[in-house]
């Protein structure tokens, strides 16, 4: 930027146009830089993102491989120098080591040899000190000097050699240094070369990758665009179709909606009115309910009060009842005791009463006996009474008839005919004309035959037909059952032959025959007695009533009417007569009074007020006359 500024127009320039151009340039440059940056970023991103794409991926892989190869090659090239230096160094070290070893050996040898020589010299020193002749001493010293010189020479030689070696190694060091600087230079050079080549190839690869990505993108774009177009068209068609469909549907739905709306509105109104009325009704009901509720509440409150009161009372009464119960229990206990006493007592009484009963039974039997006796007596007395009454009645009849005749003849002046009176001839109580004493056999036959047999036993019936069956009819069923029971129970009395013979007969006949045989065999007293009871016949009073009635009806109805009418007329006549007699008495009395009054008048005429009195008298007279009349 600064370079640009310095080269082109400057923003610091005094010329505004120049400044403007400078700024424009700067903006352009910035934009370009930004664009480049973005592009780079884009390409990088693309490389990252679209790695999955096929061609680009292969391209990337290829590039990567190529770059790696390039890099390794370059690195190898650079490190080759290092390796070579290493190799050289190691060689040098080996050589150094070897040289050192040799040197050390040489030094040791030298030291050894020089030591030997030195020892020789020192040995000679002792020899030399021993020598007394100056000549010898000189020789010895000379030789010593020679030896020392030799030693020193050797040493010097060695030193020289070492110094030469040192110099050589110095030279080598310098050479090595030079070589190393060369190496370093070469290395730097190669590094730079590698960097540049790498940069170049990176750029190339980047271009390639970008191109491949671009191609891929283009193809993808084209494909997508095509697909897009196609789908868009399809979508347009479909949308049109749907639109039409939708419009149709909308119309249909509108119609439907309208109809539904109307219907619903009607329905709604209906429901609304209904509901409103319902609401009103319910409100009324609610009010009513409220009222009733209040009422009920009051009532209930009242009830509660009452019930509380009741409850209190109940509590009181309960306590009372409890007390009472306790008392009652006491009473109960007392009563139980009493009851036990009573039971004992009653037991005793019972005993007493049974004794009494027995006595009573005895008495009863006696009474029966007496009754029978009295019955007989009564019957006799009855006959006697009957006869007496009959005689009396007959006398009364005769008298009545006599009176009737008198009435007819005297009062009415009619001829009287005595009515026929058959009963007058008879005397004594009316006797039923059958035999009172029937045999039990006969009774049985009668009973059995009375159950619907027609004419089987006319012979036995002849006697009993008159009186009819009504006397025994009451007991017919029981009697029959009794008899049947009897013949079943007392079957042992019947002979087996008879039974065989009887088997062919009818059921009633069978039983009859059986009874017959049984009666003939047993003639048991009990049975007899039984039937005697049955046969014991009450006196029949129906005839008596008729008898007495006929006697009473001697005077007929018509005659009685005549009598009544006659009586009435006679009574009237009697009354008239009694009145006449009374009037006669009255007139007599009046006549007496009149005479008295006349006497008085005569007295009063003397006095002045006879007129007033007269009036009174007249009135009395008039009154009396009226009564008379």
């Amino acid at each position: 930027m600064q370079a640009e500024n310095s080269a082109g127009p400057s923003v610091e320039s005094e010329n505004p146009e120049e400044r403007i151009t400078a700024r424009r340039l700067r903006i352009a440059a910035r934009n370009e830089a930004k664009k480049r940056q973005e592009l780079e970023v884009d390409s990088q991103e693309k490389e990252d993102i679209e790695e999955e794409a096929r061609t680009s991926q292969t391209q990337v892989e290829q590039s990567e491989r190529r770059m790696v190869k390039l890099q390794t090659d370059g690195t190898e090239l650079v490190t080759n120098i290092l390796v070579a230096a290493d190799a050289r160094e190691s060689k040098r070290r080996a050589a150094l080591e070897e040289a050192r070893r040799l040197r050390v050996e040489k030094l040791e040898n030298e030291a050894k040899s020089s030591l030997e020589k030195f020892e020789e010299v020192t040995r000679k020193w002792t020899a030399a000190t021993a020598k007394t002749i100056p000549q010898d001493l000189r020789d010895a010293l000379n030789s010593q000097q020679q030896l020392c010189a030799l030693l020193i020479e050797n040493k010097n030689k060695l030193i020289n050699e070492l110094q030469q070696e040192l110099k050589a190694s110095d030279d080598r060091y310098v050479k090595d240094l030079k070589k190393q600087t060369e190496d370093v230079d070469i290395m730097i050079e190669r590094m730079q070369e590698q960097i540049t080549s790498l940069m170049k190839s990176y750029r190339q690869e980047l271009d390639l990758i970008e191109n491949s990505f671009d191609d891929e993108r283009k193809t993808l774009l084209a494909g997508n665009k095509k697909k897009w177009e196609q789908q868009r068209k399809e979508r347009g068609n479909k949308e049109l179709e749907y639109l039409l469909q939708r419009m149709k549907q909308v119309e249909e739905h509108e119609v439907l909606l309208h109809r539904l709306r109307v219907e619903h509105a009607e329905e709604y109104n209906m429901i609304k009115t209904k509901l409103e009325t319902d609401v009103q009704i319910l409100e009324q009901q609610l009010q009513q309910m409220k009222a009733t509720y209040q009422l009920n509440q009051e009532k209930l409150e009242y009830n509660i009060h009452v019930l509380q009161k009741h409850n209190e009372e109940n509590i009181i009464t309960r306590s009372q009842q409890k007390r009472k119960i306790r008392r009652q229990q006491d009473v109960l206990n007392n009563l139980k005791i009493k009851c036990a006493n009573q039971e004992k007592q009653s037991h005793e009484e019972n005993q007493l009463l049974t004794d009494d009963y027995k006595r009573a039974m005895q008495q009863y039997k006696d009474m029966q006996k007496k009754m029978r006796h009295f019955a007989a007596v009564d019957a006799k007395r009855f006959d006697e009474v009957w006869l007496m009454n009959e005689a009396e009645a007959k006398a009364l009849v005769h008298r009545a008839l006599e009176i009737d005749r008198l009435i007819h003849e005297q009062q009415l002046g009619l001829a009287w005919f005595p009515p026929s009176l058959p009963f007058m001839e008879s005397s004594g109580p009316v006797q039923p004309r059958r035999q009172v004493q029937r045999t039990s056999r006969q009774v049985a036959a009668q009973v059995l035959s009375g159950m619907g047999r027609k004419g089987d036993t006319e012979a036995e019936r002849e006697g009993s037909t008159v009186e009819g069956s009504e006397s025994t009819g009451v007991d017919h069923k029981t009697v029959k059952r009794l008899l049947e029971l009897l013949c079943d129970e007392t079957g042992f009395l019947i002979e087996s032959k008879l039974l065989k013979l009887l088997s062919s007969l009818e059921k009633d006949e069978q039983s009859f025959m059986k009874l017959d045989s049984i009666f003939s065999v047993s003639r048991m007293k009990l049975l007899h007695c039984l039937f005697s009871v049955l046969a014991l016949q009450e006196r029949d009073d129906s005839e008596d009533a008729a008898y007495w009635e006929s006697m009473a009806k001697v005077i007929s109805e018509s005659k009685l009417k005549v009598w009544d009418a006659l009586e009435a007329a006679l009574k009237k006549y009697h009354t008239v007569l009694t009145e006449r007699s009374k009037l006669l008495v009255d007139t007599e009395h009046l006549k007496q009074q009149n005479s008295e009054l006349r006497m008085l008048l005569h007295q009063y005429q003397l006095k002045g007020i006879h007129c007033i009195l007269m009036q009174g008298v007249n009135r009395h007279i008039l009154f009396a006359l009226c009564i008379v009349l």
């Binding site: 700024r23 930004k34 790695e51 999955e52 080759n80 290493d86 190799a87 160094e89 190691s90």
Partner: protein
């Protein structure tokens, strides 16, 4: 927005031309109504009171640093105006604005790459500041307080120290010759003035965030003033450093390069590093470690969480390698091992290859330039058949020979995990090289495919 940010970059150069400030009447800008490039430009003749206040704050920032109380845009204004020359004691813990620290860095070291400092200019500034102080520290001359004063200011920001030189004391022991100096330095120390360097004990336990430490006990760029004693790592140095390292619990990476660390010092150093809670990476390359040192390293391997170990360019031989291999066979944390430029020989190479049979974590192994020959190739091919975790193997610069190459090729044909195998300069023959390369390429392709699939799946 883009325009504004772009503009800000060149604003200081363009807007305040020094001449214009000197002579406002002559400034043509005064004649203009609008200057689009200057957001602070206004027609008002009298500057705003706030601006005046802010300028005052800037001017007297050293006496009264007012920053946190300001509203954001005022704060930005002040920060932009603050000169980088302010004392660190004021700014260090007060200003966190990157722009200010960027200016500081650029003012001091020119153009720099901030990406190495996790894009933090402030970190860069303090790390480099501290490095400078330590690199220029001369024992017994420089006051240790010069370092200690900086510590409280920078301890929160320093994560890495890359110290490329440590100066020895100035006093020269004139009585010694050059040859004797190297010998006497290690065994003499108490009776005479020491050659000890900067004592890290005073520093390391205070840097609570320090994670990476890189040291070179030597002088950088001495030129023709070379003397052996400039490159002396004394025993006391070693002890002090070891103790300091032990006190620094957050350290993850330790690099001590080109410092003449021999067996004794290595053992001393590592004995203090045993069971270090956080150390993950150890780099002792370009030193003089021998077999005993290697044994100490082997011991450390299984008493730490080391993941990366660089001991290339040392003098480890067969027995040391055996000790390392023994440790390796039991180790479960180490991922990277570099033994380049040592002297393992077949003895050590075979031991390492056999350790690979048991190890299941190591991913990178470098055995370049180790005088290995065919037996090692055989053992390595066995290991390759069984091992399935190793990803990279470097056997370059070893005389494996054609037969060794064939054996290796045989082993490689059964391997499906190795991705890199460097067999340059091993005389293995073109055919084997080609075959091995082929297997490597198939393995790489497989891994690539898996990776792409994983990426696709994650999407």
């Amino acid at each position: 927005m883009a325009a504004a940010t772009m503009f800000k970059g060149n604003a200081p150069a363009g807007i305040y031309p020094p001449i214009a400030k000197l002579n406002p009447a002559a400034d043509p800008r005064r004649m203009r109504r609008i200057i689009a490039e200057d957001p602070e430009w206004s027609l008002a003749v009298v500057p705003l009171l706030t601006n005046l206040c802010l300028q005052h704050i800037v001017k007297h920032f050293e006496e009264r640093p007012i920053l946190d109380e300001l509203v954001p845009d005022q704060k930005a204004f002040v920060l932009e105006k603050l000169p980088p020359s302010l004392p660190l004691s004021v700014t260090a813990n007060l200003i966190s604005d990157e722009g200010y620290w960027k200016r500081c860095c650029e003012g001091r070291w020119g153009v720099s790459d901030v990406s190495e400092y996790s894009h933090s200019w402030k970190r860069m500034f303090f790390e480099r500041h501290l490095e400078n102080i330590i690199e220029l520290f001369i024992p017994d001359v420089t006051d240790p307080r010069a370092v200690l004063d900086v510590v409280p200011l920078c301890q929160n920001y320093v994560r890495r120290l890359k110290i490329s030189q440590l100066l020895p004391p100035i006093k020269e022991p004139p009585k010694f010759d050059e040859d004797d100096a190297s010998d006497s330095a290690s065994d003499v120390g108490n009776d005479r003035p020491s050659m000890d360097h900067f004592d890290f004990r005073i520093l390391l336990d205070k840097l609570t965030n320090l994670e990476e430490l890189q040291l070179v006990y030597g002088v950088k760029g001495c030129g023709m003033n070379f003397e052996w004693n400039l490159f002396e790592f004394t025993f006391r140095d070693c002890e002090f450093l070891a103790k300091a390292l032990k006190s620094c619990k957050s350290l993850k990476v330790l690099r001590i390069n080109q410092s003449k660390v021999d067996d004794e010092k290595c053992r001393k150093l590592l004995s203090y590093l045993l069971d270090h809670p956080s150390l993950l990476e150890l780099d002792l390359s370009h030193n003089l470690i021998g077999d005993r040192g290697a044994r100490a390293i082997g011991k450390l391997l299984n008493r730490s969480r080391l993941e990366r170990l660089d001991i290339y360019d040392n003098q480890i031989r067969g027995s040391g390698a055996q000790a390392l291999a023994h440790a390796l066979s039991k180790n479960t944390s180490l991922l990277y091992l570099n033994l380049r430029l040592n002297r393992l020989g077949d003895e050590g190479g075979q031991a390492v290859a056999q350790a690979l049979l048991k190890n299941g974590t190591l991913r990178n192994l470098n055995l370049g330039a180790n005088e290995l020959t065919e037996p090692t190739a055989t053992a390595m091919s066995h290991a390759l058949v069984q091992n399935s975790t190793l990803r990279s193997l470097n056997l370059s610069c070893n005389r494996l020979g054609v037969d060794g190459g064939k054996v290796l090729e045989e082993g490689m044909s059964h391997n499906s995990s190795l991705l890199e195998c460097d067999i340059r300069l091993t005389d293995v023959g073109l055919e084997s090289e080609y075959c091995i390369g082929k297997v490597l390429r198939t393995n790489q392709a497989k891994v690539r495919r898996k990776r792409t699939q994983a990426v696709a799946a994650s999407r």
